[in-house]
């Protein structure tokens, strides 16, 4: 009805429709415009290709690529290419790896490379390229390899296989914060890459009253250790399924792919169910927006505006506590036969979803066991159990979280981590204006 009235209104104002003759001229004009635009796109595209990543290559690709599976690592060897200054190795978790489609990249000047930090039992795909002054070669033949745990893996990192040529050291990783703690008494693990140093500000070293320590670590350092287990680095992508159950009945579920950058930036894209597909949740520190495809209007929401039942937006958008919470104290605790540490966290930012948190960690491994989340008034909201520890990106990480509502006792929300990978997302994608394009990522 509205449309009809508005049409009448426009008629009155404009004195009737334009003449077709004028329309014809205008149509010609728009066709011209279309061709001009296409030409511009073409020119820019060509320029992009020229300036872009890969000029057309005349360099021969490396041949004879072979791989040897190790414990959490793969050693690749190939025949040298004359005139090559270095070699690039591209890795992917699925076939079809190329220099355009990969999950990880390394470079070396040698003709072998030992790629560590891989998950045992998982199949990886590699290609190698030769890099010369005039450009990069095409991809070598793709090679498939599955690292596996050795029967008696040594505790220390296994010695790198000795290639014929002197191997180049892997790319220097930022040093992990020095932690004076006993190594966890656990089953032998694959050697892990050095954990990346968190960017977050460490507690002021000259605090008037240092927080009490258990062992040699302060509460803040313990929190860092717990966060390192939950987050594989600064920039990663995780795929999470959230399921709400009442009793034993599944009442609702979502699947979200979350892109995290620097811990404080995240872009969660709903993949399921069909009714919510392509919804996007953007978190930039305390700024939060939701984008619904049905409205296309990114709406700023407050941190209290929960979209996922018992699971807070922050739970899917952030996986570390130290951004929003300060660890104030730590106590030893025993649950069953498990020796645990109980950390007391208090909100330090406006955007923190909870007033305080009690966090239980395994004393030896710092793995999270459970967490209790409280309101500012100290009322228990929910309890989360961290389960399903699996090797993910070089560390044992929880892949299954069970969230029990403190009030509605029969309501349980689970968060299941379907996958996790290291991937950098450009800074400029974490913007309100980009949200309508986020589902294209």
């Amino acid at each position: 009805m509205e449309g009809v009235r508005r049409s009448y209104s426009r008629e009155l104002e404009e004195g009737g429709p334009s003449l077709f003759g004028k329309g014809v001229t205008e149509m010609k004009r728009v066709m011209d415009l279309t061709f001009i635009l296409v030409s511009v796109l073409f020119v820019i595209s060509c320029a992009t290709v020229k300036q872009g990543e890969e000029p057309v290559s005349v360099t021969a690709s490396p041949t004879g690529v072979s791989a040897e599976a190790g414990n959490g690592r793969v050693t690749l060897r190939w025949n040298g290419v004359a005139g090559a200054e270095s070699y690039s190795i591209y890795m992917s978790a699925s076939e079809g790896t190329s220099k355009k489609n990969f999950d990880g990249r390394r470079s070396t000047t040698a003709t072998s490379y030992s790629w560590a930090g891989l998950t045992n039992g998982m199949t990886y795909y590699f290609v190698v390229t030769a890099v010369k002054k005039d450009g990069e070669s095409g991809d070598s033949k793709e090679i498939t390899v599955t690292p596996k745990a050795l029967k008696e893996a040594p505790r220390a990192a296994e010695p790198a296989p000795k290639p014929k040529e002197a191997p180049k050291a892997p790319e220097p990783a930022p040093k992990a914060p020095e932690v004076v703690a006993k190594p966890p008494k656990e089953a032998p693990k694959a050697p892990e890459p050095a954990p990346r140093a968190p960017e977050v500000t460490r507690p002021a070293p000259k605090a008037p009253e240092p927080a009490p320590k258990v062992g040699k670590l302060t509460p803040e350092e313990l929190l860092m250790k717990a966060d390192e287990i939950r987050a594989p680095g600064q920039n990663f992508v995780q795929d999470v399924r959230v399921i709400l159950k009442k009793g034993n009945t599944e009442t609702a579920s979502n699947r979200l792919v979350t892109r995290v950058k620097g811990h404080t930036k995240s872009l969660a894209i709903f993949k399921e169910p069909p009714t919510q597909k392509d919804q996007v949740l953007l978190m930039l520190d305390n700024n939060m927006w939701i984008y619904f495809p049905k409205s296309r209007q990114p709406i700023r929401i407050s941190p209290a505006q929960q979209l996922l039942g018992n699971v807070s937006n922050a739970d899917v958008a952030r996986v570390v506590f130290n951004i929003d919470y300060k660890a104030e104290s730590v106590e030893e605790d025993t649950v069953g036969t498990d020796k645990l540490l109980r950390l007391f966290l208090k909100a330090k930012t406006e955007g923190a979803a909870y007033g305080s948190i009690k966090l239980w960690l395994h004393k030896d491994s710092y793995k999270l066991n459970k967490a209790e989340f409280y309101t500012l008034a100290g009322r228990l909201l929910k309890t989360t159990y961290y389960k399903g520890y699996k090797q993910l990106l070089g560390k044992d990480r929880p892949t299954f979280l069970e969230v029990h509502d403190a009030v509605k006792k029969d309501e349980i929300t689970t968060m299941e981590y379907l996958s996790m990978k290291i991937e950098d997302t450009p800074d400029n994608y974490f913007q309100r204006a980009f949200m309508d394009r986020a589902s294209q990522l």
Partner: protein, 479 residues
């Protein structure tokens, strides 16, 4: 109705041939685009894919016609239906290959009502080509529908779409997506925390009858103060400047404002030129809108979330182009006079035409200057029930419009909802002059067709299988 006739006439005329030419031009553009990919060194290795998302809507509605309506006396002037049914399909079909993306939205619609025979329409809301250059630059061309702004009750910065036809039976947030876009060319460039956009929508005769329009937009986030700002500069039939600001004030509260300064009124006014006599009716004059009038439209509001997740949005709306008290009185005097004339068979033909003319200048929702808007909702994505209550009150005359909608998710793909729209107010108030109260059902069925080409989806499936992240034990193995 008139717009639809234009479309029909257009396709039968010389313009129809031009449409074909335009179609050819688009095909050429796509062909050139494809050749462009082939020139890239690794063109063949790039992924081709598509996204197909589809929502089928079924919307039967019943209208309680107000028979004593001032402008639609005895329901004779507009002959409104007491019921109708609308069945439509919103199809989003997007193709992508490397840097290019072709986005489309179509709405084939079948409409039938009490008096009308079946009517079908095929709305092309969007069909545009979007090209990405590097990580920061996007250029696009074609028909595109932009949804701008941060407010809910009025959208002062919705410069390109504010006069497009919308379906008022849909929820407020859905209306602007299901409308036809504009033919345009434009680009967005993204920097860290800042975005710039430039859009040109040309005049295309009857095909796009608005004059040439240019919209420049800039958006910035001021993270330390949790605030983002967008500025708009618009050149067109009603040029203007716009701004929207939104800010997170506390854990529960977001404040926002959206405003625009425009030049060019939309408001027809009526003045009485002679009194009625025994032998002649009263005469009224329609004064065209003042194209040089400068006025402001602004919305100031807040969104508060309660502990149980209920969200309340409150807005004050100022519409500088609305009728003043005297202007509105002139309009209602006119309607009242001809309503009386029609009902008493006094110059009935003239009265019928005059009431029709009065109808043509009525636009509910923004006739006056001051409004309040309230929206109460409990919308989380994990509950089956989703309710929304919207109240828009005209603060000048005390009339108001209420919209209540309750949706229930029957399955993960099927949502059934009921909605009602009621108006309250005296006969000569804005919402009191609304023609009918409405109650209807809205059933939505969502489905998608998985992309058979997209290797990243296959890759995802493999990752899900391979990575240890699939906890078959559901955590029982925890140490």
């Amino acid at each position: 109705m008139i717009a639809e006739n234009h479309v029909k006439l257009y396709f039968r005329s010389e313009g129809g041939i031009l449409m074909k030419k335009l179609f050819c031009a688009v095909i050429c553009a796509i062909s050139i685009g494809i050749q462009m990919f082939l020139l890239t060194p690794d063109g063949f290795s790039q992924e081709f894919g598509y996204q197909f998302e589809n929502v089928i809507y079924e919307q039967p509605a019943y209208y309680q016609i107000k028979k004593n309506n001032l402008l639609n006396a005895r329901n004779d002037i507009l002959n409104l239906d007491e019921w109708n049914n609308k069945l439509w399909d919103k199809i989003n079909l997007n193709f992508y290959y490397d840097i290019l993306r072709l986005n489309t939205q179509f709405r084939p619609t079948l409409f039938f009502s009490e008096w009308d025979s079946n009517k079908t329409h095929f709305y092309t809301d969007e069909i545009y080509l979007d090209a990405r250059f590097g990580k920061s630059l996007f250029l696009y061309a074609g028909k595109r529908n932009f949804v701008e702004g941060v407010a809910f009750g009025l959208h002062p910065t919705d410069f390109l779409g504010q006069f497009k036809k919308v379906d008022l039976a849909l929820r407020e947030e859905e209306r602007r997506v299901q409308r036809e876009g504009n033919w345009l060319v434009g680009g967005d460039t993204f920097f860290k925390d800042i975005t710039f956009s430039a859009i040109y929508a040309p005049h295309l005769g009857t095909f796009q009858d608005e004059q040439n329009r240019v919209l420049l937009k800039g958006r910035a986030l001021f993270e330390p103060i949790n605030t983002d700002v967008a500025l708009y500069l618009y050149y067109g039939d009603i040029p203007g400047l716009g701004m929207d600001v939104s800010s997170t004030v506390s854990k529960n509260l977001v404040l926002f404002t959206e405003s625009a300064l425009r030049r060019g009124s939309q408001r027809w006014t009526i003045t009485q030129t002679s009194m009625a006599t025994d032998t002649a009716p009263a005469m009224f004059k329609f004064n065209p809108p003042d194209k040089d009038k400068v006025y402001a439209q602004a919305v100031v509001g807040g969104s508060y979330t309660f502990g149980d997740g209920t969200n309340l949005i409150l807005e004050y709306i100022y519409n500088g182009d609305g009728y003043s008290g005297s202007g509105w009185n002139q309009f209602t005097d006119y309607a009242r006079y001809y309503n009386g004339a029609y009902n008493s068979n006094y110059f009935r033909d003239l009265a019928e035409v005059s009431l029709g003319r009065g109808t043509s200048i009525l636009q509910f929702g923004e006739m006056r200057k001051n409004y309040a808007f309230l929206r109460l909702s409990n919308n989380t994505s994990i509950t089956d029930l989703d309710g929304q209550l919207v109240v828009t009150a005209n603060l000048n005359d005390g009339s108001w419009l209420g919209y209540l909608s309750i949706d229930y998710s029957i399955t993960k793909s099927l949502i059934a909802g009921i909605y009602g729209m009621v108006t309250f107010g005296k006969k000569d108030t804005e919402y009191g002059m609304q023609y009918a109260n409405t109650v209807g059902l809205l059933i939505r069925y969502f489905f998608t067709i998985p992309n058979v080409f997209k290797s990243t989806e296959k890759k995802q499936a493999r990752l899900n299988e391979q990575q240890s992240g699939v906890p078959k034990s559901n955590g029982k193995e925890m140490k």
